[in-house]
């Protein structure tokens, strides 16, 4: 698979079988038709139409919306529709930077097809002119993509944290990086995508960071989410990307972006422009 195909691997444009759902005028997410129809059981919370679903307008503030939707989510969990309860909630917003409309249990985020925000950090080491990238392997018991290759640090942004604060927390939990070092990470861009995953529509926006680490740094996973780490030459990273699906689906574009920004690919190579523009498919926030 080419790098470009690897990028398009995680996009979807055909939304047949999904219905938009809104709070007031703001479209918040996409519901699979069978999930939308299940929501007809909760008419005091959702007004379900054949083409669209709207949150009932009497749920007029954050607390009411959170409580009412939370009850529905618990019911959906009992029905087996919401799986893998995380006891962690995400903010639901109409657009990045706007006040949250409600908070939602993380396990329900894909079921309701709402946009989730995350942070991904490329941890790298300079060796003269060469750059090496720290790559983690996800633990075999992870719910999503067990055993796949991952960024040194990555995680969803939970309710109430800004991206940088969350990054510092994840740096400690996932790689044993101390706060003073974690704060040296610099934001380098963002990616957004919409894809089918385990039958649901995932809409994620990832804030990307680079952190240059000292040559003698060794990551230590604290939370058990990463089984092992390796410091890889960029040639090896590129070969894995083009020859296998070993990288987690949404980490592949993050790493391709890293390779582009650090000059691994050259404009005179065939396909460079298509690849670099291809990344823009992941840069449309809405």
């Amino acid at each position: 698979m080419s790098f470009l195909e690897r990028l398009h691997h995680c996009t979807i444009s055909d939304l047949t079988g999904f219905r938009p759902w809104s709070i007031g005028k703001a479209q918040i997410g996409w519901l699979r038709d069978d999930v939308a129809d299940t929501l007809r059981r909760y008419p005091s919370v959702f007004a379900v139409g054949d083409d669209a679903v709207v949150l009932q307008s009497h749920l007029a503030d954050f607390d009411h919306r959170t409580a009412a939707v939370g009850e529905v989510v618990r019911a959906l969990a009992e029905l087996g529709i919401v799986q893998g309860w995380r006891n962690e909630s995400f903010a639901v917003v109409a657009d990045y930077g706007q006040p949250p409309l409600l908070r939602l249990e993380r396990a329900a985020v894909p079921v309701f097809g709402v946009r989730a925000y995350g942070v991904h950090m490329n941890g790298y080491v300079r060796d003269g002119e060469r750059i090496k990238l720290w790559v983690g392997q996800r633990a075999p018991d992870r719910q999503i993509e067990p055993g796949k290759l991952d960024n040194l640090v990555a995680g969803g942004v939970p309710f109430g944290l800004d991206p940088m604060t969350n990054l510092v927390k994840e740096c400690a939990e996932e790689a044993g990086i101390e706060e003073a070092m974690a704060r040296r990470a610099i934001p380098v861009g963002a990616m957004s995508y919409r894809m089918l995953h385990q039958g649901f529509l995932r809409q994620d926006t990832l804030f990307l960071y680079d952190l240059e680490l000292p040559a003698d740094f060794l990551p230590t996973n604290i939370d058990g989410e990463i089984a092992s780490f390796r410091l890889m030459e960029l040639e090896e990273v590129a070969a894995i990307l083009s020859d296998s699906e070993a990288f987690k689906f949404n980490v592949a574009p993050v790493v391709i972006d890293f390779l582009v920004r650090h000059g691994y690919f050259k404009p005179d190579q065939p396909g460079y422009a298509d690849l670099a523009i291809g990344l823009s498919a992941f840069q449309t926030p809405r």
Binding site: V260, S280, Q283
Partner: protein
């Protein structure tokens, strides 16, 4: 977001698609219809399109026909800023060109043109400074505006890398040995309406860290002055003025994002990131 508001979205209804060998490769203003119709052996005009005649079946015959049209338009004052530089016409960088044409004619046909840009950097972190040039008053495009230390169009018959080394010397007196330390870091695109037509551009951007005692020295008369601008002044300039030409403003916003001077705490962050690399508006093959 000021920079992205400088040009309103393009109203493509004002344009005919420019078709060569059944491929959509550009856009021509409808107001040029009469000028196109004067060359019936070259152009076939339809409702929403103007195509090069099928009889012009290869690179040479198409290039010759286009050269004839542009020479006549130049005579009539429709093409200004003649450059004597041939640009390829295709749908994507590196694809075999369907024809080539004088650079000054590319906006009249809304042709995708390629360029190479260098961010000249001194220092890092809060002490980062950028070498900025001011374009000469006689430049055909964006005279007097602020520019990169080095930037140039990507003509036919030279690799991006060789062109970069050549432009580094001509525009800033940067020796090849230093120029070759430049790193390709990003690509930016633009589609904007300019007086002469539609400017469709794809730019290969490089970062080049220069020694603290380096002084740029323009050789070709295209840049009148250089200044070493602190990164904070660059941010102020982009927020408050339109002194940078638009394509260069994009390159600078891209730099500020890649180097972390703009981050997720900026409420416009996602829109800024999304504005840098919009796909080129050609019909799919």
């Amino acid at each position: 977001m000021r920079q992205f508001r400088r040009y309103p979205p393009v109203d493509f209804a004002r344009y005919l698609k420019f078709i060569v060998a059944d491929q959509h490769v550009g856009w021509v203003r409808r107001t040029r219809m009469d000028h196109l119709a004067a060359f019936p052996k070259v152009f076939a005009i339809g409702n929403d399109r103007v195509a090069m005649q099928d009889g012009l079946a290869d690179f040479e015959s198409r290039s010759a026909a286009m050269a004839e049209v542009l020479a006549a338009w130049r005579e009539a004052g429709l093409v200004t800023g003649w450059r004597n530089e041939l640009f390829p016409v295709n749908r994507g960088f590196g694809q075999p060109p369907l024809l080539c044409m004088e650079r000054a004619g590319t906006p009249l046909f809304g042709i995708l043109s390629y360029g190479v840009n260098i961010n000249g950097l001194v220092g890092q972190g809060r002490d980062l400074h950028l070498w900025i040039g001011r374009r000469a008053a006689h430049k055909p495009v964006d005279p007097n505006m602020l520019d990169l230390v080095v930037g140039g169009g990507q003509p036919m018959g030279i690799t991006v890398w060789d062109n970069l080394v050549k432009e580094c010397w001509e525009e800033a007196g940067i020796e090849a040995e230093i120029a070759r330390q430049a790193k390709p870091v990003s690509l930016t695109t633009l589609t904007i309406e300019a007086g002469e037509g539609l400017r469709v551009g794809l730019q290969f951007n490089y970062d080049l860290h220069l020694p603290a005692d380096f002084m740029p020295n323009n050789m070709d008369g295209e840049v009148v002055a250089f200044q070493l601008m602190p990164v904070q002044s660059l941010i102020e300039n982009l927020l408050n003025t339109d002194e940078f030409s638009y394509d260069i403003a994009l390159v600078k916003i891209d730099l500020l994002i890649r180097h972390g001077y703009l981050g997720p705490d900026d409420p416009d962050y996602l829109d800024l990131v999304a504005g840098l690399r919009r796909p080129i508006a050609f019909d799919p093959l």
